[in-house]
Amino acid sequence: MNEMVKMVVVLTVLSCVSGGSLAFIRQNTARQIEYQQLKFVKGPAIMAILKGISNNPIEDRFKIKDGEVERSFYVGIVDGEPKYVAFESSGGGFGGPVGLIIGVDLTTDKILGVGVTTHSETPGVGARAKTDPDFVAQFGGLPFKGEFKVTTDGGQIDALSGATVTSRGVCAGVTEAIKIYERLKDQIKEKVKAFK
């Protein structure tokens, strides 16, 4: 009986100490990890969309609470004015959600560009949404309002051949981004003033 108690006590104490120290380390590295992920995964996509900016949008970012979730916005400064903003959205693709970064020109409300970040689409088919620059380039310069659809659904975006579901997912993600933008527009415009 004594040994039984000892086993339980040792395992419990060991697990508690382990869990506690991991929580401590996680808390202390969380910011750094978030920064690294931005730098290596989302950063290149943001930099490709926000062209001709003079700042580092990874560092000049802010968060806005949108209901339950917190959304990050990346600011692009042109000629000393915070003119561009990029943020994340996602739409349902063929193999799961397709993560998008959308850049918007705040002065004209036009799309600067769309980039695919994380996805689990079929390589060579749906994955071309990320690798084929011509597909996402269709969004560039279009007004950032209303709803985006592929041409077969009566919309304005030519779907990737053989990957209609993925193309619809990207359109849905952009449409979702429009809703987010319209919901938070006033807060975004207020917040970017701090980056002058």
Partner: protein, 202 residues
Amino acid sequence: MAKSIAQEFTKGLWQEIPPFRLVLGLCPTLAVTKTVENGIGMGVATTFVLVFSNILVAALRKLIPSKVRIACFIIIIATFVTVVELLMQAYAYGLFMKLGIFIPLIVVNCIVLGRAEAFASKNGIVASTADGLGIGIGFTLSLAALAAVRELLGSGSLTIWGDLSFQVMGPSFKPFTFMIQAPGAFICLGLMLCLMNLVGSK
């Protein structure tokens, strides 16, 4: 204790060098040795886990009831592996992306559990530290050597760390891409094991 601390340390470098002498931990050995950088990164991460788990197991060896010792060792090892994973994400994200799933898999690396069970649970803290460090450095050297052969033949280059990369072979060299695929890893490891046995048997 008959052996000195120095002997505990140096045995990991030749006498019991993993994975050539102790044929353990083959999964990471075969999987990550595509470039020297990956080999060294994996080796350093494993060394960190080995040294700290050995220290902790040696320190707690009298407290841990023998019936649940494996569970206790795994908790200790898993804790340090998660620490490595978090630190690598925070400070070496590029390497983390390359090693990917093989970092969390250090938990099931037989070398780590093997040293905890075979050595650290029976010896003192200082000897266990020396043992962990020796085996870890031996493992790192082995991975680097295996990776050097594979990368040299498979890609014609040597990537030591980050930007420190050399294109060893000239432009006319046709990469022997078989070497950086899985079968190449097995054959290369087999040949190196054979070489080690040949040298060691004399």
